[in-house]
Symmetry: C2
Subunit: 115 residues, 2 copies
Amino acid sequence: MDLDRSLVSGSMALLVLKLLEERDLYGYEMMETLRARSDDTFHLKAGTLYPLLHGLEEKGLVTAYEREAAAGKPRRYYHLTDQGRCALTEKEASWQRYARAMHRVLKGGACCAGA
Amino acid sequence: MDLDRSLVSGSMALLVLKLLEERDLYGYEMMETLRARSDDTFHLKAGTLYPLLHGLEEKGLVTAYEREAAAGKPRRYYHLTDQGRCALTEKEASWQRYARAMHRVLKGGACCAGA
DNA sequence: CCCTCCTATATAGATATTCGATATATCGGA
DNA sequence: TCCGATATATCGAATATCTATATAGGAGGG
């Protein structure tokens, strides 16, 4: 499942890149934003997010910079690179294709089921 | 990602159950049907399908029976049980929920981005 | 006749994604 | 002072899927 492997299982990467399209964010913020935006459907965990971000950075899809917060630990912000923007476009297209195919299969069956 | 783990990564199980909702099928047939139905998007591999079918059988979601073909090896047909039908309904609902959440996140960003 | 491809099922090992648990550090409230 | 929230990080485990390989019969070409 070429498409599946890197996309649907890896949908977290797509979601993170999508969030960064709008503005720079730090990790913790992403978790909350994603939860809110998805109406509490996506619960991205810290143990998933941080390794993912490091991976994206290695691939050059995002860059990172640190900034002190008013209180607490300094925050590590992530910024989408041009390459990241490109990858995002591709991943979005793949998702659309995947979702459409799912829809076609799920709709095709049931009652009358033309085949 | 509770939802994600068992559903989106496990979307193959959903697809297989969906195909069996219509009529009994044997493994090889499923691969071809799925490919055709999804407009060549899903390429379910033998090494994925057969272990998956065994798993579904163990869980009681499908039953299997063998039947000779006109030629070649005998075919192992799979039939959806009531329990399987129930699981299918649940998985379909979960998929809808997931797809909707994805749509919300992917749509929410971009230009105007209300938040 | 042999070799390869297509049908058909099956298993083992590899890879990737995500989670749970754990660790660190700072701040505010009970 | 101890706990919870913020904030980042890493490791081991679970799971899904893939690739490669094996078996087996039939059809077609060299």
